[in-house]
Symmetry: C2
Subunit: 463 residues, 2 copies
């Protein structure tokens, strides 16, 4: 017993390096495999929920299942809310609904909702019917809000007091309320009898004010209220714009029904930023934890669309097969023009996609951004026209070939800059998500224009 205790202490000391080391993870995995339950229990007690979630994520499937089956009771429910949704789905699906229900009953309403969100409908229903009436109503109402809406993010436990109260009365109320309050809160909401939010008092202001002061005078009245149906991306934008720490959520009648706190928003911001980068490559956020076949399937779709683009480019090349047959140097050089166009276009595209996501790009500066990116593309086109023109002319001892590739380079990088900025802007304007489909359209343009300009000019000028 003292020996295994020591191991756990050592592990804890090492965790001062702020994250579990690979060595520690392997040691714990070994303890699980060798059924050294003293060590495992000691570790689970020492680790924070976030650390345990990281540990479980990095375990092999077998070790993970072993850990959850053998030590399920010792695992903090918050561990599951810290997990990647896909991983949460696969681990929870292997647990009996009774056990999941008992985990949920220990969580705040927003965490409970987050925990069962990725599960399939049937399992959700089985779990919900095992809960107390109060939790059941809360969860069912939460699930009735659209996916990724404020209603899904919010916590139903709120601190709201009437407008006419004083600071002193409010503090006394908080002292007396005890367990009924949310675990953590940063603001008190001031409401009228109809449950409309009339103001918001940050705790640090309440605590600094004299007992006799009225909330009416203390409250910030310029409150950012969040409709329950608002998309989480928009909510995150508001939190960032107004530097909010918590904000009240209202229903369609303007009544206060919940609160969203910054810790939920941090996850949303991270998720949304990751989503863009993932969508642009046609992968999904949970791909790290998804099974091989399912990952292959989702990627296949994206690659298939790209195959159609590549075939289109091949058709363009086939128009010029006679020209290539005569001057085989064209086949050698043509990928350079297309690839430079693709890279320059991706640069313009990345800037535009991110600026649209952060709302820094809209109608007011749209034309200026397209114009600037076109200019940047054309200028780099001119620079690379000189370089590749010289390389081609010297390599194949053919000055005219140099002129052809130089001209094609300028044309393609002009098109790349223009379309790299314009395609996401147009997609966004017509309601499509620019991160998803911009790259395919752009590659089509830079491939087709690149091959057409280079081979077409060659057919005219070199034959």
């Amino acid at each position: 017993m003292p020996e295994s205790q020591k191991t756990a202490d050592e592990l804890k000391d090492e965790s001062l390096t702020f994250t579990l080391s690979d060595k520690e993870i392997n040691e714990i995995a070994q303890a699980v495999q060798s059924q050294d339950s003293d060590t495992v229990h000691a570790v689970l007690e020492d680790l924070s929920p976030a650390d345990t979630a990281e540990l479980v994520a990095k375990f092999k499937d077998d070790d993970r299942n072993e850990l959850l089956v053998m030590y399920g009771e010792a695992i903090d429910p918050e561990v599951f809310t810290e997990m990647d949704p896909e991983l949460r789905r696969s681990t929870l699906s292997a647990m009996p609904p009774d056990q999941i229900a008992s985990l949920i009953s220990e969580l705040d309403s927003d965490d409970a909702l987050e925990l069962i969100r990725p599960l399939d409908d049937r399992l959700q229903k089985e779990i919900i019917q095992r809960l107390s009436a109060k939790s059941r109503v809360a969860l069912e109402e939460g699930l009735s809000f659209p996916e990724d809406s404020a209603g899904r993010l919010m916590q139903r436990e709120i601190v709201a007091v009437p407008l006419f109260w004083t600071a002193g009365k409010t503090i006394d109320y908080l002292r007396a309320a005890g367990e009924d309050l949310p675990e953590e809160f940063f603001d008190i909401f001031v409401i009228d009898p109809a449950y409309h939010v009339r103001g918001q008092v940050p705790l640090n202001r309440l605590i600094r004010s004299k007992r006799a002061e009225k909330l009416e005078d203390l409250a910030e009245t310029d409150v950012t209220t969040i409709p329950a149906t608002m998309d989480q991306e928009e909510v995150a934008h508001l939190f960032r714009r107004d530097d909010l720490v918590s904000a009240p959520v209202i229903d369609e009648n303007g009544r206060l029904i919940g609160v969203i706190t910054i810790d939920d928003i941090v996850d949303v911001i991270d998720e949304e930023a990751q989503e863009d980068i993932m969508k642009m490559a046609g992968v999904e956020r949970s791909d790290l934890y998804r099974a091989v076949l399912s990952t292959t399937g989702t990627r296949f779709r994206w690659l298939f669309i790209n195959l159609l683009t590549a075939i289109l480019a091949s058709i363009v090349i086939s128009f010029f097969d006679a020209t290539i047959e005569q001057i085989v140097a064209l086949a050698v050089l043509m990928p350079i023009v297309a690839s430079m166009g693709g890279n320059a276009g991706t640069q313009a595209l990345t800037v535009a996609v991110r600026a649209l996501a952060t709302k820094e790009l809209s109608g007011a500066n749209r034309m200026r951004v397209i114009w600037k990116e076109t200019l940047v593309g054309t200028l780099n086109g001119a620079a690379f026209a000189v370089i590749t023109g010289l390389v081609a002319a010297l390599w194949f001892s053919n000055p005219m070939l140099g002129i052809v590739i130089a001209a094609a380079m300028i044309i393609n990088l002009f098109a790349a800059g223009l379309c790299g900025a314009a395609i996401p802007i147009l997609l966004d304007r017509y309601g499509s998500d620019p991160a998803v489909s911009s790259t395919v359209f752009l590659t089509t343009v830079t491939d087709v224009v690149g091959f057409f300009a280079f081979l077409g000019l060659a057919a005219i000028l070199l034959l």
Copy 2:
């Protein structure tokens, strides 16, 4: 006067849609151009700093300068801290140092530091020597911490009280302190005489506790302390992992010197996530606001490296020029193999780069991720081998050509999956930033392997 007032009110009403509409932005720009100073003043008074920053960002250069010169006094200093750093640099550089110094004197220490951060050293010095002794010392000390470190993010205004105080005494102190406290705070730090952090009391716990309770008993003693030199990405990771709202910053002797709050971290998370996506395309976060020539220059470097990759691919093709001369269909089809490899590789790469950034990928699961991505690449390689094999065989009525492209597709997508995952992992392991250079290495692999496999097999099997 009443008419312009009305315009401003209308604008404010419209701003209930949560963000400035393009129509509003254009209306305000017109008011600036027509020197309608009543309207402009009314607008500036109504808008939040974040809204004004958005407005200034979307203005044309001329309108922006006009606004800052004519109405500089009416602009809230926080507007500048909300701006993109590049935009802040260019607007502040046009203002006299005296005016910047007077803006800074109104800000908290972390905002003041953020405001002058993007300015060049000479201008920073000119501004700092115009400040009061206290602000000067604070800023100079702040600037002495490495760029992107916790010391740069932290606020020096802290609420710290001795371990032996009671809740009541602490609240009395807060009431009396008034102006000396930071504008906003969420936790009270409990310190010993040596200024070491012994605990942290969330305000909501302090306010709920009885006056006689000792801080010693109230405080969470498991405090995440942040060394001032820690990189901001690491700080953000800790905030997310431990769901922190504020955390104490300590110097090399463990003494409390500042506090980092979640609102700073939200910006860091967003910045870091954006940085990855930007680096992968060779662009910079501020490119939206950078001048054309400077943007062209930074992009040129990235494109130049990609040109070398493209030339390398051309050299591979040139080995097979005799083969292409005989079978021109090879030139038509070869971009398909390279492009599918590039896309499949980018998928694996994106997953690996993001997982490394979020620390979900490390030594413990490294080999499993590489193996999985290789398998996914190979499986999709097999699927696309069938499709492109059939397309090529039917298009050119040549079954052997179909077999050649099918084999090349499997080989290249195997290499794409393997290298897409392995390249960023290896770069990360040897201390390079995987987001910056992974794509170039990957493109080199998928181009070289793609062309070599396809043309090489063709030379062997078709001639």
